[in-house]
């Protein structure tokens, strides 16, 4: 699994132990460190700021109430991130734009290329292009490329097949490339 994710923060064991003892200041510190990574994940997977806010709140409540279950066998950030991913996917599944409307996919649609036009280097353009994708497609792209999950892991979490994850990735990549290509590139040195 990739460690390039913004979640990859090494939390001192002493802080985790304090949080397990119910130390409010320790929880606040954990919240401050993970607030933005969780909110960003919620926004990319669910699409709307209000939903991202709920993902943030519900994830942190789960972290607080279940921290005694964390055994320290894997990094704390990975445990916390899995809670946030589950919360976001559960919200996505429940929403009107959930998994059903995206269910129709072409398993043969494969595109392993990840090259994008220069506009992809501009954050604002990339974010706008992401917002044109179906929410589920954007979720797969984000989980695969940014959070480093495999197709098997994504499929398992979404209750789908790995082929579904692959085709969503290919479709999303193609759509992003097309969307960005028709936009004017500004401020990019060639």
């Amino acid at each position: 699994m990739s460690h390039s994710t913004h979640f990859a923060i090494d939390v001192p064991d002493s802080l985790i132990q304090r949080a397990k003892r119910g130390d409010v200041e320790a929880f606040e510190q954990i919240y401050r460190w993970f607030e933005r990574p969780i909110y960003t994940l919620g926004l990319r997977l669910c699409g709307q700021p209000a939903e991202a806010q709920e993902v943030l709140q519900d994830s942190m409540i789960k972290v607080m109430t279940r921290i005694s279950e964390f055994k320290g066998e894997s990094p704390f950030w990975g445990w916390l991130r899995q809670i946030a991913v589950n919360e976001a996917l559960m919200r996505l599944r429940r929403s009107a734009k959930g998994f059903k409307e995206e269910d129709v996919y072409d398993a043969d649609l494969t595109d392993n290329g990840t090259a994008m036009p220069p506009q992809a280097a501009e954050a604002a353009q990339m974010i706008e292009a992401l917002q044109t994708l179906p929410t589920l497609t954007c979720s797969v792209l984000w989980l695969y490329h940014v959070e480093g999950f495999t197709h098997e892991e994504i499929a398992g979490q979404m209750g789908k097949t790995p082929s579904f994850s692959k085709s969503q990735l290919a479709r999303g990549t193609r759509k992003l490339r097309d969307t960005l290509a028709i936009r004017p590139a500004t401020g990019i040195e060639s």
Binding site: R21, Q29, R36, Q53, H145, T173
Partner: protein
């Protein structure tokens, strides 16, 4: 020349988003109120325990003996270490500012707090005067390091430099 951008890199380099309002106030209300003792309070308990121990030792010893005189000197010595530690501790907690501190400085401060807690636990276990003296000296040394760390962090912030980067560049 057309520049080609790699999708995974482009996605990973997007800035983190921040919520319009912090969720912390709402979360805090839902937490069970099991706030740990603030470190100064723990130190106070340790100090009191030590004072009681010294007092019991003193009243059980003849004030006419040389040993009594020596203990009185030790008590004065320890009292002065305790006073010094209290002054440093007040400064240490007053100096911390998570808003401008880097993650590594915050983590270092938390590590220092944990070590202080360990020392305080030792002080509350009725140490001998000599052991207590050593523990109070360790406490002072630790607080001195913490103060120095936060002062350096503040100095870097004052001139717009990143303390983490400076630490990394010395490695």
């Amino acid at each position: 020349m057309n520049t080609v951008i790699d999708l995974p890199n482009a996605l990973r380099q997007l800035p983190l988003e921040a919520p319009v309002t912090s969720a912390w106030p709402g979360l805090q209300q839902r937490l069970p109120q099991k706030r740990s003792w603030p470190k100064p309070a723990l130190a106070l308990v340790a100090s009191t325990a030590l004072a009681v121990l010294l007092w019991q030792t003193l009243i059980n010893t003849s004030p006419q003996t040389a040993a009594g005189t020596e203990q009185s000197a030790q008590q004065t010595d320890i009292q002065s270490l305790m006073d010094h530690s209290a002054r440093l501790e007040t400064a240490f907690y007053a100096q911390q500012d998570d808003a401008i501190s880097s993650a590594s400085v915050i983590a270092a401060n938390l590590g220092i707090e944990d070590q202080l807690a360990t020392i305080d636990a030792g002080l509350s276990q009725q140490p001998t005067p000599e052991e207590a003296r050593t523990l109070w000296q360790q406490r002072i040394s630790l607080l001195d390091q913490g103060l120095q760390l936060n002062r350096t962090n503040a100095d870097f912030n004052a001139v717009g430099r990143n303390f983490d980067l400076a630490l990394a560049s010395t490695n």
